[in-house]
């Protein structure tokens, strides 16, 4: 088994979006997703659609790469569409057959929900494609700092993510080793039906968990030996700093948000 683990799906390229501060990107994506739920008419959706599309073009990532992200949720989208088409009952009936009644309102609702979902997925794909996991972690740590006052463990969350990222390849190697060892004793991992396969995972998962706990204990000791005591008196080597493009994009984001809200209120 060739171990080629890519975490997230970061697509390295040289674009304005890649260089943006992760905090700005995180906050913008978050705001965009909320605004998607604020917008509820054609103009709001058009504006969001145009914005996300121009951001996608700015990211210099091949479009088909971004749309790949939709594949994972295609089922949910179809499900939503079908349900809404058949179960939202309105005034203007398009056609009726036995107990099935499709109305214009139903079609509109499903289109609206589907486009909302598509844009939601596209926005988060752009975030993960343009931001490496490490930057994301830093962004989360710095971005959550103000929330520490209300008890959000910002540093701990970021440290957990860092360690998780660090140990994914190590644990993958371990899985490989254990599965080979079990195969050598006659374990079969890819025969039988789905229940057999699930059962076959037990002799793989139990040793994996045990070794993960041992590792965790040793790591904790090594971290303590290196004076780790949470974020008490801790400084960082790399400090995130806002640049001009970060301010510009924040202003744009605020403008976009106001526009969406205005459309909702006025129209």
């Amino acid at each position: 088994m060739k171990l080629n683990v890519t975490i997230g799906k970061y697509y390295p390229a040289d674009s304005i979006l890649h260089r943006l501060d992760p905090r700005v990107k995180l906050a913008s994506t978050f705001a965009f997703i909320i605004l998607l739920f604020v917008a509820n008419d054609f103009w709001g959706y058009l504006l969001s659609g145009v914005s996300i599309f121009s951001v996608m073009l700015l990211s210099k990532i091949p479009l088909k790469f971004i749309f790949k992200g939709l594949r994972a949720v295609i089922f949910i989208i179809l499900f939503t569409v079908v349900f809404n088409v058949f179960f939202v009952h309105g005034e203007r009936v398009l056609f009726e057959f036995w107990i099935v009644r499709v109305t214009l309102e139903g079609v509109f609702t499903s289109i609206r929900l589907a486009s909302r979902l598509v844009m939601l997925v596209l926005a988060s794909s752009v975030l993960t494609l343009t931001t490496s996991p490490l930057q994301l972690t830093d962004g989360i740590e710095y971005g959550l700092k103000p929330l520490k006052k209300i008890g959000v463990p910002a540093h701990e969350i970021a440290m957990m993510m860092t360690i998780a990222l660090r140990f994914i390849p190590t644990l993958m190697e371990e899985v490989d080793k254990i599965s080979k060892a079990q195969m050598a004793r006659g374990a079969e991992f890819d025969t039988g039906n789905i229940i057999d396969k699930a059962k076959a995972m037990v002799p793989l998962l139990v040793p994996l968990f045990i070794s993960a706990f041992t590792r965790a204990e040793e790591l904790a000791m090594a971290m303590e030996a290196r004076c780790y005591r949470g974020d008490v008196g801790r400084t960082r080597m790399k400090v995130l700093k806002y640049t001009k493009s970060d301010y510009i994009s924040s202003v744009l984001m605020v403008a976009f948000g106001s526009a969406i809200i205005l459309i909702r209120v006025l129209l």
Binding site: R215, L219, E224, R226, G233, R236, K238, V239
Partner: protein, 307 residues
């Protein structure tokens, strides 16, 4: 004699004493150290108490390179963990540069003074990028950002891993990972580094890399090195060897005087360096050799003289 004179003499005396204390200060000192731990016994449904360390008295001077030998379960790792306050004594005291490890106010100062490199390179690397991992310890000390950058770069250059600073540690070899762990400690500027079987999981090339770094740490940087191992060839390089058995120190001397006791070491289930064993076998056969040969070079030298 005037009072002034006495004052000056007293002052001079005090100055000398301080100077001596500064120069010859003991890096680590243990007094009657005992460490007990309990383990639940399922059969008798009772807690059992074990002594991992029984009355250990050891003093390690500043700048020394000391190897601690012993087979599994002899208490050598437990002893090491007492030297940077990861464990605290059940009885007795441990001082690290005069600081008592039992006092919790000293804990962070002690861990700063005495860094530790562990056995499994995979389980002591925290970050997914080499330079971030080296920075981890320094970040914990609260050093300003620019200085962290400098220290990290210097430490990576020192262990010859600067070219890998942006790599992910999982793609490196064991020896390289251990060198990064050393860099991570070195960047914290400690006065003493404890290696807890740091070469046990490495291949011969990795071991050589790490050993070279360890020797340089001691000779070039003047850092006190406490090296726990069960490889005799590594212990030979130290200034002083301490042999542990069942939680007690049984031998404590320079390597030459330790390794010439072939029979004694064998009885402690320890090996002697191959050349030393060879020398003792040759002596038994009546060949005229000294019994304290511990390196291959020495052996070659003496064998050539026989002619």
């Amino acid at each position: 004699m005037s009072i002034e004179m006495i004052k000056i003499i007293l002052l001079y005396f005090a100055f000398c004493v301080t100077l001596i204390m500064v120069i010859f200060v003991e890096m680590v000192k243990t007094n009657n150290l005992v460490f007990k731990y309990s383990r639940y016994n399922a059969e008798s449904d009772e807690k059992e108490y074990f002594s991992a360390l029984k009355d250990v008295n050891l003093s390690i001077n500043k700048g020394e390179f000391i190897a601690i030998l012993g087979h599994n379960g002899s208490g050598k790792s437990t002893l090491a963990k007492h030297m940077n306050a990861l464990l605290t004594p059940t009885e007795g005291v441990v001082y690290v540069k005069g600081l008592n490890t039992k006092d919790e106010n000293n804990t962070w100062e002690i861990r700063h003074l005495a860094g530790m490199v562990f056995q499994n390179p995979d389980n002591q690397i925290v970050a997914a990028v080499v330079e971030e991992d080296v920075a981890f310890g320094v970040e914990n000390l609260g050093v300003p950002s620019e200085e962290i950058r400098e220290r990290v770069d210097d430490a990576l250059k020192w262990v010859n891993m600067y070219d890998f600073s942006k790599n992910t540690p999982s793609l490196l070899s064991g020896g390289q990972k251990q060198r990064i762990a050393i860099a991570g400690i070195l960047a914290m500027k400690p006065e003493c580094i404890i290696f807890d079987e740091a070469t046990a999981m490495l291949d011969p090339i990795g071991r050589k890399e790490v050993m070279q770094a360890v020797i340089r740490l001691n000779r070039e940087e003047g850092i006190t090195v406490i090296f726990i191992t069960h490889h005799m060839d590594e212990a030979v390089l130290a200034d002083r060897v301490v042999v542990m058995e069942d939680g007690e120190i049984v031998l404590d001397d320079v390597p030459k005087k330790i390794f010439c006791q072939v029979e004694k070491l064998k009885s402690l289930a320890l090996d002697v360096p191959q050349v030393t064993e060879l020398a003792s076998l040759l002596i038994k056969k009546g060949i005229n050799l000294p019994n304290d040969i511990i390196t291959i070079d020495e052996m070659a030298d003496y064998l050539c003289r026989l002619k």
